[in-house]
Symmetry: C2
Subunit: 309 residues, 2 copies
């Protein structure tokens, strides 16, 4: 599981940063890529990565501002052009379906795969399948905007086969019963409790990817105990008033959310073109007293999300 | 007057070529840039040129396929974001207005300048102002597609002041009359014909920029005596059947159109990703027996269009 940042800028593309898009790479976990926002030229950015568009299974749109959606019609068309046949689902605020369908209709684009839409109107669980659960909650932006919490199911502990062999438990259907945590009586009369032969379960990973927002309580709920929080930082630490006026956050506000939620790693994106080079990194340095593991991400950064130790 | 190619590829973007867009630079002639087609990431390409979006006065769309229009909403938004206030007019087939307006509405983009639409339904003159006339004609593509002919008005001959001085004609209002081609009687009785003191007029330049098309008679009409013809060459010389099936042209068909129209310079664009490196240049080499001055254009090529000698 990795995050790959395809666009980390705000508003308009610049030479340094493209407009918004993040890929959540779930290739080992479910042989899929999920995208969060698809700003213009996201498909161009993908050309410079190992991502294959036909692996994109789900697209989550935080909100309908152009810098978050104008790359969708092109990406969908190219996925078809390249022979994608697997279904694709787009989640996002009301209006995303109309935008995509009008674009595809007017351009007479016929897709080679089924395209589904889920327009979000309320906070809650979007789905829960194949070991992943996604929850959306409304944020505080100028237009309807949702943040996403991705929860991986816990990986159950492995059956400790070595330990069973040491105790000379013959292999067979008994192993399955033990793995299921059952209590089993062996032919020789010994009684074994399955729970004694199962390793510790691996807690699933939690990632929160938010859209553009002012500081808001729902952000804390989405990020609760997350391994990684991706949070916008359109403004620097002290520009609280500007951030409020433009419905955005400062780096400090992002860090405060992370702190309240008990987040380990904070990744700041949606960086204004006003911050280049050192000035951009300052956004992170300024708040490391709040969350030590904070960084400003750049286009094409890949961040691994390991299991908790 | 120059052509600057922003995207010279076909269908989908590749690392070598972006999707369709050509800029006609009229900075000296009318302090304006005109764009022909706006594929996705045209605004990104523009970041690597000297073009300033607020100088874009008119946009001509050949047809509504995604690789020719998906960059429009982003470009229009960024032009606004950068403080453009001058009006902008978009010409194109019916549907272009719905596509752009839906995109801007859904994304709640409010533009800082007036945006006008002219949806083309018939062949004919689109406008004639400030020394330029543009004519559209329908081409033969899978969906409605128009080619454009841009005619610069002739520059009238200059008044030959040196010659008048040699003949000791006193300067004054007489010069204006002579420049207007009038016959004038001087105080000393000499009769002068203004036409004897006016240099040869400079014929205006003609550029034809076509969209995707099969070989068609209207292409010849659009390109008649053009200084430059920009013509698609999605297929190589011998792929006539493929070209027909996909509603496109071969390089040979493009050259035949240029030959019939008496065109001087042929620029081939809309190059398939199947042709890279030498294979792309072959598209031009193959047809230089028909039009010697033929070349395959690449992204960021700038082609000057000089006055006829
Ligand atoms: Zn944004
Ligand atoms: Zn095309």
């Amino acid at each position: 599981m990795q995050l790959e940042f395809l666009g980390t800028g705000a508003g308009s593309p610049s030479k340094q940063r493209n407009v918004a898009s993040v890929a959540l790479r779930l290739l080992e976990e479910r042989n899929a890529i999920w995208l969060f926002d698809v700003g213009e030229a996201t498909q161009h950015q993908i050309l410079n990565t190992t991502i294959r568009p036909r692996k994109i299974e789900k697209i989550f749109i935080t909100h309908l501002h152009g810098d978050h959606i104008f790359g969708l019609p092109g990406l969908l068309s190219s996925r078809s052009f390249q022979g994608g046949t697997e279904p694709l689902t787009i989640y996002g605020p009301v209006g995303i379906k109309r935008y995509v369908q009008t674009s595809l209709q007017v351009s007479e684009s016929r897709l080679s795969y089924p395209l589904h839409f889920v327009e979000i109107t309320d906070d809650g669980e979007l789905f829960n399948d194949h070991g992943f659960r996604v929850i959306a909650r409304r944020l505080d932006h100028k237009i309807a905007c949702f943040g996403y919490r991705i929860e991986e199911a816990d990986h159950p502990g492995e059956l400790q086969v070595e330990k069973l062999r040491e105790q000379k438990v013959p292999s067979g259907p008994i192993y399955g019963l033990l793995k299921a945590g059952k209590t089993v009586t062996l032919p020789d009369g010994r009684v074994l409790d399955g729970r004694d032969f199962i390793g510790t379960p691996q807690p699933g990973r939690i990632v929160a990817i938010l859209g553009d927002t002012r500081q808001t309580k729902n952000a804390v709920l989405l990020a609760q105990n997350a391994d990684v929080l991706v949070h916008e930082s359109t403004f620097a630490k002290d520009e609280t008033k500007m951030a409020h006026n433009y419905y955005h956050s400062t780096s400090k506000q992002a860090a405060e959310i992370a702190k309240k939620a008990g987040v380990k790693k904070l990744l700041l994106n949606h960086i204004s073109a006003r911050y280049t080079g050192k000035a951009a990194y300052q956004l992170a340095y300024q708040v490391r007293n709040i969350i030590p593991d904070t960084r400003v991400v750049n286009d094409f950064d890949v961040i691994d999300i390991p299991f908790k130790k």
